[in-house]
Every structure is written in structure tokens, then in C-alpha cells.
């Protein structure tokens, strides 16, 4: 298993501002993902953070709104840009487990709960 630390754990932000969430893993991992979980809802994949290259975004998510960095195999950041109240969600960092060929075994951080006023 992997230990994943996210910062901040929660924040209250003003409309129009941007916030960067950090994700630190205690070991080197190949695959790192960012998910969004709206209140009382399921998890939606925002993007796959690729080390040394641009992130791969899912349908409905764009780099201008959710820029992602992945400078090495243990760290990534997600920025939520020009926030609106609709961006109020829990943002979760996750990494893939070590089972070869298994992409469904994920370890999650505790999440960053953002409230946009």
C-alpha cells in the first residue's frame, strides 16, 4: 500500500480565485490520478497525472481549469482555477497499486474539501 498526503485538507475560497492542492506519496508510483467527489456523490476522474509530460484529461475537464503538475514519481499538484461555487467538492489524489496489469486497485488520499463562496 501507499501513504498519500494531501494539502490542504480543507479550504474556503472566494469566487474567481485559484487554489493549488498538493499530493505527496511515500513511494515512487507510476500512475497518479486526480478525482473529484461532489457532496454526496460518486467519484469522477479528472485526469491522469503523467510524470514529465502533460496530464491526460477526461471528458469535461480541461487543462486551463485544472492544470496539473507531476515533477517526479512521488509528487503532484492540481490547481482549481478561477473558482466558482460549482467547484465546491472534495478533490482526491490517488495512485495505482502494485498488482501488475490491475488498474482498479487504487489508494486514495484523504481528500481536499474545497468550499467556494
Amino acid at each position: 500500500s501507499a501513504v498519500i498526503s494531501q494539502k490542504p485538507s480543507r479550504d474556503i475560497c472566494q469566487r474567481g480565485t485559484s487554489l493549488t492542492i498538493q499530493c505527496q506519496v511515500d513511494s515512487q508510483v507510476t500512475m497518479m490520478f486526480w478525482y473529484r467527489q461532489q457532496p454526496g456523490q460518486s467519484l469522477t476522474l479528472i485526469a491522469t497525472a503523467n510524470q514529465g509530460s502533460e496530464a491526460t484529461y477526461e471528458s469535461g475537464f480541461v487543462i486551463d481549469k485544472f492544470p496539473i503538475s507531476r515533477p517526479n514519481l512521488t509528487f503532484s499538484t492540481l490547481t482549481v482555477s478561477n473558482m466558482s461555487p460549482e467547484d465546491s467538492s472534495i478533490y482526491l489524489c490517488s495512485v495505482a497499486g502494485l498488482l501488475a496489469g490491475v488498474t482498479g486497485e487504487l489508494f486514495f488520499g484523504e481528500g481536499s474539501r474545497l468550499t467556494v463562496l
Partner: protein, 109 residues
């Protein structure tokens, strides 16, 4: 289009009872079916998982039943305890994980 449908949305069970959560999928290419457990304020944690070549997997009080022909799978929690109260997500994977909508389980003492 939702690829993994989960029911019920919420479930209340008495302590010692059996909790059953059901999921159905559409994509026959899925090859891994995990269940995640999420407590309030925490990230989801992998609970148990099954591959489609197996019809049942049991780990302690948790059992996954898998019906490939019906494209359905379910989680059974035997002897449910108040500490099992959490949100449970089924999921299916083929290079990428797709989550169900979640079931909020409450086990009454």
C-alpha cells in the same frame, strides 16, 4: 452514460444482520471489480475485489458474488456491525476505474 449502476442508494440494517449492495455493469470488457469503503472525511479504501473468472470471493465477513452472464455483482456483509457504517462504492475496471453511485450503509446498534 453510467456504466456501473449501484443500488440501493441507502441501506439501514440492524446489528448482526446481512447488508447486501448490488451493482450492474454494461461493458463486458471490464476485467476487475473492486469494492471501496469510504468513511466520512476519509478517502475511499479498497475493501475487496474480484475478477470475472471467479463467481465468489470471501474475505472475513465480506463476500462478493459475481454473475458474469447477468453482468451483475454484489457485496454481502455478514454480521453487520455499527463500525461498518460507511459509504460503499462498487467499481469496474478496464484500464480505467469506473465507480458506481455509492450506497450509504447505516448499521444500527
Amino acid at each position: 452514460q453510467q456504466q456501473v449502476k449501484q443500488s440501493p442508494q441507502s441501506l439501514i440494517v440492524q446489528k448482526g444482520g446481512i447488508s447486501i449492495i448490488n451493482c450492474a455493469y454494461e461493458n463486458t470488457a471490464f476485467d476487475y471489480f473492486p469494492w471501496y469503503q469510504q468513511f466520512p472525511g476519509k478517502g475511499p479504501a479498497l475493501l475487496i475485489a474480484i475478477r470475472p473468472d471467479v463467481s465468489e470471493k470471501k474475505e472475513g465477513r465480506f463476500t462478493i458474488s459475481f454473475n458474469k452472464s447477468a453482468k451483475q455483482f454484489s457485496l454481502h456483509i455478514m454480521d453487520s456491525q455499527p463500525g461498518d457504517s460507511a459509504t460503499y462504492f462498487c467499481a469496474a475496471s478496464r484500464r480505467q476505474l469506473t465507480f458506481g453511485s455509492g450506497t450509504q450503509l447505516t448499521v444500527l446498534p
